[in-house]
């Protein structure tokens, strides 16, 4: 049987999409475990250790419990929106994984198969668009709960997202000015051979990092759900798997942000001396994938490390930081980058 090229491409892409999805989900699942363990070690504890050896079955136990827990839909809530909220959060979180270049290309049967679901030429924009949709999940969920704490959480989430998306975008513009492309695949390729963007855009990276924390609702920016003030924030009224979706979405977002940062600033799947090792292309791709995940895990660890170290901001301070410090700094960064580009060219 001779499949046409289109069919082969479709199969490739489907497989890659599924694998990417599965990996995203798996990593998100085990991020919860990692979070517990990392928190435990940072706090001189041992963390879960009774569900399976070293407690590695802990996420499965949580999931199993979630599935069989009673679904409560408060009768004062808007039922449709209440259900759709976590769905949106989950969906948008998953969709971003499509444009991340997970690795170089594999050569199978004489064909080059890039390890990326799709290399959109506006990949960066796509990620932005989808991520900013994510806040709808939180907002709708929080509003539909008909609970004041949830509403406050939802309001905080949306204003925080909007404020930080701006400086995030501005931080990226400086990078894009430098790279001249919006395609993630190309941005990675440009960084080949240790030529990482972090060396050219340290300030931009710092800004981007801070914004990523804010976008993922992680401490010190976890105001939408901060326990001590808003009980559970937007997910106060959620139980069982719907709550699971929200939490999942948070971890997926963290994973995607890490991947995004690794792609944009840390060379993605590139690693130093990759061209001088003299390995075959497939090996380099495989090592590249592993290196990429190593970078991602480092970022995830950093996310958690920060969370268990720092206190959180207050709502107005968060806004002030966003508007009064981040945006001017991002503009300054653009200005500097522009100047340097002008001068060097």
């Amino acid at each position: 049987m001779n499949l046409s090229l289109e069919w082969l491409l479709l199969i490739d892409k489907t497989v890659i999409a599924f694998v990417a999805f599965a990996i995203t989900l798996l990593i998100a699942t085990y991020s919860t475990y990692a979070e517990r363990k990392i928190a435990a070690f940072l706090q001189d504890r041992v963390g879960p250790d009774r569900a399976g050896p070293f407690g590695i079955l802990q996420p499965l136990a949580d999931a199993g419990k979630f599935f069989f827990k009673e679904e409560i839909i408060p009768n004062t809530s808007d039922k449709f929106l209440f259900i759709i909220g976590p769905g949106i959060a989950m969906l948008t979180a998953l969709m971003t994984s499509a444009v991340i270049p997970w690795g170089g290309s594999l050569e199978i049967g004489g064909r080059q198969i890039p390890l990326q679901v799709t290399d959109l030429n506006i990949g960066v924009l796509y990620v932005f668009a989808v991520v900013s949709l994510g806040v709808y999940g939180i907002m709708i969920g929080g509003w539909a709960s008909n609970n004041k704490f949830s509403l406050l959480g939802a309001i905080r989430a949306s204003s925080q997202m909007i404020s930080y998306e701006l400086s995030m975008g501005l931080a990226l513009i400086a990078l894009i000015m430098m790279t001249g492309t919006l395609s993630l695949g190309e941005i990675v390729e440009q960084q080949r051979g240790g030529n990482w963007n972090i060396f050219y855009q340290p300030l931009g990276f710092l800004l981007f990092l801070v914004c990523a924390f804010a976008e993922c609702n992680r401490t010190p920016f976890d105001l939408p759900e901060c326990e001590t003030e808003l009980v559970g924030g937007y997910h106060t009224e959620y139980s069982s798997m719907k709550l699971g979706f929200f939490m999942f979405a948070e971890y997926i977002n963290m994973f995607i942000s890490s991947a995004f940062m690794a792609t944009l600033y840390f060379g993605g799947y590139n690693f130093p001396f990759m061209d001088s090792l003299g390995l075959s292309q497939n090996w380099i791709t495989i090592i590249g994938v592993l290196v990429f995940f190593l970078k991602i895990f480092a970022f995830i660890f950093f996310f958690m490390w920060i969370r268990w170290t720092l206190p959180r901001f207050r709502y107005d301070q968060l806004m002030r930081l966003g508007w009064q410090y981040m945006i001017p700094l991002a503009l300054l960064n653009i200005f500097i980058t522009g100047t340097i580009i002008l001068v060097t060219k």
Partner: protein
């Protein structure tokens, strides 16, 4: 590491690539290892609960470190401390807001029976308003005793059938407390 008692795999038919067990057991095991507590801490026992959550005892080992202050998300209501008559309706409301399956543990003398506070203002045991699964004696109990209580609950959870919450007996139990 070897000294830690792992949760055993549920009994089932084990063969090559073949593992069957009843769903109840698996879910029971999952639930038991993922009990999210709602700390209803009112007084002294709450401080000992903090110690239990702290580094030296670490309740997280049992999969219970994620405290859910929202009753919707909690599986285990830990009542720690004196429950005054003024508080009783609140406690009951929290219990009602919890999603099934839910378990209750009465930590300490005050929650279990009133303790030394045999007074006009104190509820003489929370089992007057909500059903209690496990009692932990002590005033306040040591963290060891609290962990003991949580492990007792885990035993209970592991062996509970999936259908128990729909049985007439359970409904009758709730009805006897006036909870619909």
């Amino acid at each position: 590491m070897s000294t830690v008692k792992l949760s055993e795999a549920p009994e089932g038919l084990q063969g090559e690539g073949f593992f069957a067990t009843s769903l109840s057991k698996v879910i029971g095991l999952a639930r038991a290892n993922s009990m999210w507590p709602l700390p209803f801490a009112t007084s002294c026992c709450g401080i000992e609960f903090m110690a239990t959550m702290g580094s030296n005892y670490d309740l997280a080992r049992f999969g219970s470190e994620r405290m859910s202050f929202s009753p919707r998300q909690a599986d285990l209501l830990m009542v720690m401390g004196t429950i005054a008559k003024k508080m009783a309706p609140v406690l009951r409301q929290v219990y009602e807001q919890m999603a099934e399956p839910r378990w209750v543990i009465a930590v300490g003398a005050c929650a279990s029976s009133g303790g030394i506070f045999d007074t006009y203002s104190v509820l003489q045991g929370i089992d007057k308003v909500i059903p209690v699964d496990v009692y932990v004696p002590g005033c306040p109990p040591r963290p060891e005793q609290i962990i003991d209580g949580v492990m007792k609950i885990q035993e209970l959870v592991k062996n509970e059938s999936l259908r128990r919450r729909n049985t007439p007996e359970y409904k009758q139990l709730l009805a006897s407390y006036g909870i619909e």
